[in-house]
Amino acid sequence: MDHQPPKPTRVYYFGTCLVDLFFPDAGMAGIELLQSQGLTVVFPQGQSCCGQPAYNSGYRADALKVARAQLDLFPGGDPIVVPSGSCAGMMKKHWPDLFRGEPDEAKAVQVAGRVWELTQFLVHVLDVRLTDKGEPVRVTWHASCHAQREMGVVDEPKDLLRQLANVELVELKREKECCGFGGTFAVRHPEISAAMVGDKVADIEGTGAARVVSGDCGCLLNIGGALEAGAKAARGQHIAQFLKERIHGR
């Protein structure tokens, strides 16, 4: 595009607590994807969590305490890239509300304004072109609710998957429907959550995909865990790791 803004040379990476504990390889893959585009990626070691678990549970003061501990880790104006639509949504959309009236509100708003979900950043800022070196595979895409509805990420991940010559993307029948994770919802209402993920698993099975790719680790813990427990053929994978494997041919 003619009027593309200049690409940044340096970005911050906010890995998120779920990636940190359960999907660190996906987190690293995201960093490497950004590095492969010539960017310097900064991973502040002081980071922990965006505060969403407490925020959504009604404990706003605790959420504020945790969010505040992240604020000084991202000085300057470089973009902050997050391999999660849900955590990115918390930072971009909810931090301004969370910090309203606080002495560091302006800083929080400034940081929030620089937050990008990973695939959004790869497509809209870096305009990446991916070369597929992997074997032919059929996959489906699971859209996380917060990526779609808080970050507006709908087509970006699918556009990236469609760049891969040997990847056949079969969309879910009910792509927009929640998988039933919902943070503490999954344990507060385990039966409803189970029914929801059951419908999601059936939808995934219907595509015949070997993998369900997603950009959010909450969904992946839920869907991936249900696929495994049900001894289904498909497996869940984070999109960062999937893309990295494809461009490296393994």
Partner: protein, 474 residues
């Protein structure tokens, strides 16, 4: 916990165990979502009409006290008697007064969720007054002795076969025929006789126009028109938020409502009720009453964030799109308003002691927010109610009713861990090393592993990997 408090978890478990119910809802809601989407295929038109309807509702709420006074003034001028009810008891007493004065024995009703909120039918029946619901779906649930499972489609939880069985059991001369046309005709014959015999007709209100004193009522079956024109007395019930400023505010509301709800471009009937029969007129009721119910709404109105709850036009589209509602159905909520709007409205009306669990019956997926025709920030209000439920005092009835010292300590501990890089490093290192040894029988893990494998800690955190790979820290 109050032993009489509704138990959503238990009720939803029962609903999930009923494959017929789950199938009925899945099919019906998939169909409704598709029909709605077809109505709004033109995204530009959707955004335009939605912005207009939201603005109509916002403006009405901004001037609510003034508009209500104007509504009363203009209704009164039109010959409509206006009654104010602070509580549902007051509203029921007003209704009973009118019924006693005209010595009513039989009441026919059009669909009204406010009267569900009032439990009016039970009140009338215990007073010896026969009351008959005339909306087909509502008639079915009344025959079945249950309550509406959806605010627009009260009997959506039942399929034709189940309705045929019900009619066979309850109506004399009913044949056992699973044929929607036959069943509708059967109900119509019962209802037709009752319309003609009824002493009083009752209805809800979709929008009350302040500048003209007009009550707007939309419906598909003509039963609303029958209830409001045939009996000699008509009593309309509305929540105080249903007022709009001008006549021109009505079209966006009555267009978006059916398009969002059932995917119809417009309802079959649009009734604009502007008063009782005038001298020389051949039909229409002799008396028209409007009962305006508060029941906690003025408290909701007083809070600028919670006030958005009152924008609702009761289309029910949030239910059709809610992944929780579509799994468990409306009855599991045990509330007049189920689904997303119910989860924010009912706790504010009935209080957080009784209804504090409702705002948690939600994954915060925002599907409802995406399609709400008047842009109610349902999930933000849900989050606010979760705060109010554990915070004593505050703006909502029974604030702090769900406060628990144990939960409070868990979140304090969580915050301490996540607000200090050192504590976080120690805690995540410990979890990474030891977490996988946690038995699946632990609380929370037990619920999780019912249908899922245990989440596996990776052993090394992203912090570890980034450090090992020399990723700069600043």
């Amino acid at each position: 916990m109050d032993a009489n408090a509704p138990d959503f978890a238990a009720a939803s478990r029962a609903a999930l165990a009923d494959p017929q119910l789950r199938g009925n809802f899945r099919r019906a809601m998939d169909g409704l979502m598709g029909k709605r989407a077809a109505q709004f295929a033109d995204a530009g038109e959707w955004h335009g009409v939605r912005a207009l309807a939201a603005a109509v509702r916002l403006r009405a709420l901004a001037k609510l006290p003034e508009l209500l006074e104007k509504l009363e003034e203009n209704c009164t001028r039109n010959g409509i008697t206006v009654h104010w009810a602070a509580t549902t008891d007051d509203a029921n007493a007003i209704a009973l007064d009118i019924l006693h004065r005209v010595d009513a024995k039989l009441v026919v009703k059009g669909k009204s969720m406010v009267t569900e909120e009032m439990h009016l039918n039970a009140v009338l029946e215990s007073d010896g007054i026969e009351v008959l619901e005339s909306d087909l779906g509502e008639y079915i649930v009344q025959l079945d002795g249950t309550m509406p499972s959806h605010i627009i489609m009260p009997a959506i939880h039942l399929n034709t076969k189940q309705i045929a069985h019900l009619f066979k059991r309850k109506l004399k001369d009913a044949e056992s025929r699973e044929d929607a046309a036959y069943l509708t005709d059967l109900a119509r014959r019962v209802l037709r006789a009752k319309f003609q015999a009824a002493d009083v007709g009752m209805s809800g209100v979709n929008a009350a126009v302040a500048e003209t004193g007009t009550l707007c009522l939309i419906e598909n079956e003509g039963n609303g028109r029958m209830c409001t024109t045939v009996p000699p007395v008509h009593i309309a019930f509305m929540g105080l938020e249903k007022v709009v400023e001008k006549l021109e505010d009505v079209p966006p509301v009555i267009s978006l409502l059916p398009r969002s709800a059932t995917g119809q471009p417009i309802t079959t009937y649009v009734n604009m009720i502007s008063g009782p029969r005038k001298d020389g007129e051949k039909d229409g009721p002799r008396e028209v009453h409007l009962v305006i119910l508060d029941n906690g709404r003025s408290g909701i109105y007083a809070d600028p964030e919670l006030r958005d709850t009152l924008r609702c036009i009761r289309c029910g589209a949030c239910m059709n799109h809610c992944p929780v509602y579509t799994k468990v159905g409306g009855h599991a909520y045990e509330a007049p308003y189920p689904g997303p709007i119910g989860k924010i409205l009912v706790p504010q009306i009935e209080g957080l002691e009784k209804r504090g669990a409702m705002p948690h019956a939600c994954t915060m997926c925002n599907a409802c927010v995406e399609i709400c025709p008047v842009k109610i920030p349902i999930v933000e209000i849900m989050g606010r109610l979760r705060v109010e439920a554990v915070k004593p005092g505050g703006a909502v009835k029974d604030g702090g009713a769900k406060a628990s010292r144990a939960e409070r300590m868990v979140w304090s501990g969580w915050a301490a861990m996540n607000a200090s890089p050192t504590a976080y490093r120690i805690a995540t290192a410990a979890m990474s090393r030891l977490g996988n040894a946690a038995p699946s029988s632990l609380p929370m893990l037990k619920e999780w592993t019912n249908v899922r494998t245990k989440p596996r800690f990776a052993g090394r955190t992203l912090h570890d990997l980034a450090r090992a790979k020399g990723i700069p820290d600043a």
